[in-house]
């Protein structure tokens, strides 16, 4: 099982490893200890590394470099890809511009988060020629620093682009052709199936390359755990110390990676990452731009999939409420048989769905908006960057003659599942113009939901802020001056 590591000219063998091994564990076990473990849950970014993959657009092939949390990615997911770690940036002792900038701006104090920041900066450097503050914040949204207060790191993100030269200053830009060639030879899309013997156990790993292979594997296994990015599932490994006996990765399945965009609907393969889906989503529903910004950190969005966010059935996943409000459907597949259901019917109770043994999500189908529709979304959390919702709300408003005719509203964080609120929808049709809309909505919400009090918010806050968000939504619909502070800038 081979991948390309840093500036090596030949691929590296992962060796015979337990399929439950994360990239971070593999690196540290192999003396690449620059990449750190800070939280082992994708929250701090000390483990950030960069993955390069060949992407073919309009017949030309490029390598796309993306930051990821190595603490959550499984090592076998590296196969056929290029992994760049902090050890691989300097070239013949010469620091990479991202490293040099961090030194010059005093971007490092205790140094423990520094490799992660450097890698996020490196990814930014690969993808841009210059940046604004907004892009910097997004690129570094998954990295926590407890020492510097970020100011010098932001300065470094700006200044790393200052040094100009005719020839690329970076090994990876300079050697792009060669790397593409090596990766092209490595990238051999076929079904990977292997098993690992551990004392008296056998742990199986499958990475099918087609949807038929995937459905065959799943129909024949009773112990399979489907893993896409694993941004939730890998916590079972790293936090609960669980060991999965059969891991089935859907990341190589070609059909699940496709986005089909036609006049009537947008169909997104279940294993498409958020970052890859973002442009199609935002072009159809502009309000999702800021929403996706707040949705999660960039390394998570680079890796996590929409299918995973749904299959996981968390009551605090942010995409299901949005998709429910948009009338999305799910295409499910079991063996040779497909079925299509409404997303809102997918969730039964807390973490329980209608999915059957051996069945999997193939794609998400979203009807295209017409010009009378407007989607407004809100996310409430303790922090703007990389936080889980206390409340997530999506409202899809259909208008006639510039007046709302119908509402479709779905919530996350308000019950055990992502849930639609019929009562509120009906209520708003009649009452949306009322002055005390927040207080009235509160009553309706209280009848429909009894949200939990937990570490993220009290029940009462969830109810009351939702009521106020209804008011805010109406104000936004009326183009009143209400802004989301997450994007607020004094200077603009």
């Amino acid at each position: 099982m081979y991948f390309l590591l840093n500036q090596n000219s030949t691929p590296t063998d992962l060796g015979a490893i337990n399929p439950n091994t994360t990239v971070l564990e593999w690196l540290r076990d192999n003396q690449l200890v620059g990449t750190k473990e800070g939280c082992a849950s994708g929250d701090c970014g000390a483990c950030t590394a960069v993955i390069g993959e060949i992407v073919t657009n309009n017949k030309s092939s490029n390598i796309e470099y993306k930051s990821i949390n190595t603490c959550m990615a499984l090592a076998y997911g590296l196969v056929g890809k290029h992994l760049v770690t902090v050890e691989g940036l300097a070239e013949e002792g010469k620091l990479h511009p991202s490293q040099k900038a961090m030194v010059l701006e005093n971007g490092s104090q205790c140094g423990f988060c520094t490799p992660g920041f450097v890698m996020s900066l490196f990814a930014l450097y690969q993808n841009k020629n210059s940046v604004d503050l907004h892009q910097i914040n997004e690129a570094l949204s998954g990295n926590l620093c407890r020492c510097t207060g970020y100011k010098p790191i932001i300065a470094a993100a700006f200044s790393m682009f200052n040094e100009k030269s005719d020839e690329p200053l970076d090994y990876y830009k300079k050697n792009q052709k060669n790397i593409t060639k090596i990766l092209g030879e490595l990238n051999n899309p076929k079904h990977i199936s292997l098993s690992y013997k551990k004392s008296n156990k056998t742990i199986k790993y499958d990475a099918p390359s087609t949807i038929n292979e995937l459905s065959n594997v799943l129909i024949n296994s009773t112990s399979a755990n489907i893993i896409a990015a694993g941004t939730d599932l890998s916590l079972e490994i790293t936090q609960a110390m669980k060991e999965f006996s059969h891991i089935v990765s859907v990341n190589q399945v070609i059909e699940l990676k496709e986005i089909k965009d036609n006049a009537k609907e947008l169909e997104i393969g279940a294993a498409v990452s958020y970052e890859d889906a973002a442009s199609s989503l935002i072009s159809n529903w502009p309000d999702l731009g800021p929403f996706l910004q707040r949705f999660a950190s960039l390394p998570i969005k680079n890796w996590a999939t929409i299918g995973g966010n749904i299959a996981n059935a968390s009551p605090i996943g942010d995409m299901p409420p949005v998709l429910i409000a948009l009338d999305a459907k799910l295409k499910l597949r079991k063996g040779p048989v497909s079925r299509t259901i409404n997303l809102e019917d997918f969730f039964i109770t807390y973490k329980k769905t209608v999915i059957q043994q051996g069945e999997f999500i193939e794609s998400i189908i979203i009807p295209k908006p017409n010009e009378n529709q407007r989607l407004i979304t809100h996310k409430m959390s303790k922090r703007y960057e990389d936080d889980i919702s206390a409340v997530c709300m999506a409202i899809n408003i259909t208008s006639t003659n510039n007046k709302p005719e119908s509402f479709k509203i779905a919530f996350g964080g308000m019950s055990g599942i992502p849930q639609r609120s019929n009562r509120l929808e009906n209520f708003l049709v009649k009452n949306w113009q009322e002055d005390n809309i927040a207080a009235l909505s509160y009553k309706v919400l209280k009848e429909e939901f009894s949200p939990f009090t937990d570490v993220r918010a009290t029940s009462e806050y969830r109810l009351q802020v939702s009521a106020n968000l209804i008011k805010k939504t109406i104000l936004m619909y009326q183009d009143q001056p209400v802004e989301n502070l997450a994007e607020y800038s004094q200077s603009s």
């Binding site: 800070g38 140094g111 520094t114 502070l485």
Partner: protein, 745 residues
């Protein structure tokens, strides 16, 4: 090194062959009697070597001041997350997996979780502390205007990026080398020696660097090191332990949360005539450093204000929670927040800008300069520093434009606040104000330093190296600072109380001066320049008319049998303190600073954003402006996290709910204010004789962030003038929401 990932932390060190790994099994109740701990399944798990219980440990109890902390829970459990067993296995993962298989039968007892519960039950770790001056009771009684209230001040998880970690390597004859990520190698050494029952000279503790400490590794590193050492002694193999983030958050102490109950009497224009503040701190199950922390809270409840009649009482609440510990500011921030909140409340009641109330109550230079603990403030610069910042930050103009903005904006409201800082520098425990250093000059002119301070990112090693390079007139490149080792400099104090460079810089300088004396004596004789001066400059030594390269000079000195190494010692002068009366001169000097913060609040959601921050901070004559700037900026953001988004939550039965990065939110990059102007006060030097007239910088800037919290309070007030906001800390979005939306139902 940092940017290339080649700086080595303990978890990155190649471990010796045969190293085994430790993980703890943690209690899942806050208080109870242990009936049985079942380790049967765990012993059978993959890779498990053995399991340690309290009964297996002879010298079970450790602790910083008092040995009241069992390394593993003994007979009773005293907090949720307390270690009840330690598993030894062939890998970190196997140790953790097995630890989860340990079950315990515990008869649960009623836990004291909150400050209110502890106060009601008089559950204290020690007698209350009282700092008092004048007659506060009478002064408040006779005041025309009075206020009273309660402020709840949250705690704070350190969230050092590198968790607690230790590696113990047995050598020979019961000796051991322990690598520990600690701010306090000496204490780790002494406690390891204690639990192993060996003399202190058998243990060497080494700390190269920490991935952040912030006080969280001042005492909390010992437990892990001791467990490793116990196993290492038993089985004569190297033992390593590192805590997962969750275990670290459960097991180790945090910043103390406080309740401040206050009464204040003031004149019509806002002059404080009498004040009483009761500061009750949640200390957790053991004493740790709580007494000194509460004491420092009392010493900072005056902040920059002259309070002729004041009574500050401190209560050390004993609770069934992890033992709270040092955290940057060490109680000072909590005391300071209490008084700053009172000032703001007075201003709101009178209806003036709080800045006026602040200026009116400031300490002055020659009068009104005695603190409630009797120390005279001799170095006061807060008046001029404030004026400078108010001008630089355009405060008055911005106040007006904010008023204008708020008049036209219905749902978004802005708030602005100015807050000053006066922070006392020195350990309040007098004996800790000492330091040692060892300086070696080698034949080739390279220099090696070891001192008692530890490096956790604050730049201490560079500062001390600068001091040494400066003494010898050589480039910094010539100087190396070694890992801190208890074998090189003994009986050191923790790197804490912002004192690192003050103490170790002076000790290192003293060592340099001793070597220079040897060299001077030698040179005068050898080069025959009589009584002419000797100068060490630009990598040369200048003796009268002779100019010799430093390395050549040193090499010649060696050939002539001159001693080229020396220790140095320093103790802070002038300080004394009577702990019974709580009076004296606990601080060598004060550091000052001030800050203006501006926020915008969304009244519909309670969300807010920090828009602009202007800081002017006093570091005396800076040893290294870049490092000091880093401390100021980083301190502000860390303080802002404490007061804004970082919320620790326990359930009613005492289980910590915020035990991971997904639920405990430290500031992220987008929380950095877009306008962030930080200035070190220029052309100023410490009036005391500190190292190159510099001042300490580690802790004081954290408290600049009080202005962020005050600005939120101001925005809420601006949204509704009628309202007494009752804002607590941290000002989470939810809390701000409920301050703004009391009448929604």
């Amino acid at each position: 090194m940092h940017v290339q990932g080649s700086a080595t932390y303990i978890d990155d060190m190649p471990v010796p062959k045969g190293t085994l790994h430790v993980a703890f099994a943690l209690s899942n109740v806050a208080r109870g009697k242990i009936n049985k701990i079942d380790i049967t399944d765990a012993l059978k798990a993959d890779g498990v070597h053995s399991i340690l219980l309290a009964k297996d440990i002879e010298n079970l109890y450790i602790g910083a001041i008092k040995h009241d902390e069992p390394i593993l829970a003994d007979k009773e459990v005293l907090f949720f997350g307390q270690a009840i067993a330690a598993v030894l296995a062939d890998s970190h993962e196997n140790a953790r997996t097995a630890a989860l298989l340990i079950t315990s039968n515990v008869t649960e007892l009623e836990a004291v979780v909150t400050i209110d519960q502890a106060m009601a039950k008089k559950s204290f770790l020690d007698e209350p502390l009282v700092v008092s001056i004048g007659d506060s009771n009478k002064a408040i009684d006779s005041s025309k205007n009075k206020l009273n209230g309660r402020l709840s001040i949250g705690g704070q998880e350190h969230y050092y990026l590198e968790g607690q970690v230790a590696l113990a390597i047995p050598t020979e004859d019961n000796e051991m080398v322990v690598h520990s990520s600690t701010q306090n190698p000496t204490e780790v050494q002494h406690l390891v020696a204690h639990v192993l029952d060996v003399p202190q000279n058998a243990i060497e503790v080494i700390t190269r660097r920490m991935g952040g400490g912030f006080g969280g590794k001042e005492t909390d590193s010992s437990q892990l090191a001791c467990v490793c050492a116990i196993f290492a002694k038993q089985i004569k193999l190297p033992i390593k332990a590192r805590l997962s983030r969750k275990d670290d958050m459960l097991l180790t102490g945090k910043r103390h949360d406080f309740k401040a109950d206050y009464k204040v009497g003031y004149s019509d224009d806002g002059k404080i005539l009498g004040i009483e503040i009761d500061l009750a701190a949640r200390c957790g199950y053991s004493l740790d450093l709580s007494k000194a922390i509460v004491s420092r809270a009392l010493f900072h409840a005056d902040n920059t204000y002259f309070l002729p009649n004041a009574t500050f009482r401190g209560f050390l609440c004993k609770t069934n929670t992890a033992s709270n510990t040092a955290f940057r500011g060490f109680g000072g921030p909590q005391g300071m927040l209490a008084i700053e909140n009172i000032i703001e409340e007075i201003a709101m009641n009178i209806g003036v800008d709080a800045l006026e109330i602040r200026k009116l109550n400031y300490y002055q230079k020659d009068t009104n300069n005695v603190t409630p603990y009797d120390q005279v403030v001799e170095d006061n610069i807060i008046n001029e520093l404030s004026s400078e910042l108010i001008e630089d930050s355009n405060y008055l103009v911005r106040r007006e434009s904010i008023e204008k903005f708020n008049k036209t904006s219905k749902y978004l409201k802005k708030g602005l606040a100015f807050s000053p800082v006066k922070f006392g520098i020195s350990f309040t425990t007098q004996l800790l104000n000492q330091a040692g250093a060892l300086v070696n000059v080698y034949k080739d002119g390279s220099i090696y330093i070891n001192h008692g301070g530890t490096e956790m990112g604050q730049g201490l090693f560079i500062k001390v190296a600068q001091v040494v390079a400066n003494e010898f007139g050589v480039n910094l490149e010539r100087v190396k600072v070694s890992a801190t080792s208890t074998a090189k400099v003994p009986n050191t104090s923790p790197t804490a109380a912002s004192s690192g460079s003050d103490l170790n810089g002076m000790a290192a300088r003293e060592a340099c001066l001793r070597i220079k004396r040897n060299l001077t004596t030698f040179a005068k004789d050898f080069y025959g320049e009589g009584n002419s001066d000797i100068e060490f400059k630009d990598s040369f030594v200048i003796i009268g008319k002779k100019k010799i390269a430093f390395d050549e000079f040193v090499s010649t000195a060696y050939l002539n049998r001159v001693e080229l190494f020396s220790n140095g010692f320093y103790k802070t002068p002038k300080i004394f303190f009577d702990a019974v009366k709580q009076k004296g001169h606990p601080f060598y000097y004060y550091s000052y600073g001030a800050c203006v913060s501006e926020v915008i609040v969304d009244c519909l959601t309670g969300e807010y954003k920090l828009l602009a921050v202007d800081i002017l901070h006093d570091v005396g004559a800076s040893l290294n402006p870049a490092i000091d700037m880093g401390q100021i900026v980083g301190g502000y953001i860390q303080g802002m996290g404490w007061l804004c988004s970082e919320e620790l939550k326990w359930n009613d039965s005492g289980a910590l709910l915020t035990m991971g990065a997904s639920t405990y939110k430290i500031p992220a990059i987008g929380d950095t204010p877009e306008h962030f102007e930080v200035k070190i006060k220029p052309n100023i030097s410490n009036h005391e004789n500190t190292i190159h007239k510099s001042k300490a910088v580690g802790e004081p800037p954290l408290m600049l962030a009080i202005s962020a919290w005050l600005a939120i309070k101001n925005a809420i007030y601006n949204a509704d003038n009628e309202m007494q906001t009752g804002l607590n800390a941290p000002a989470t979005f939810e809390q701000v929401f409920f301050n703004l939306n009391k009448s929604l139902k």
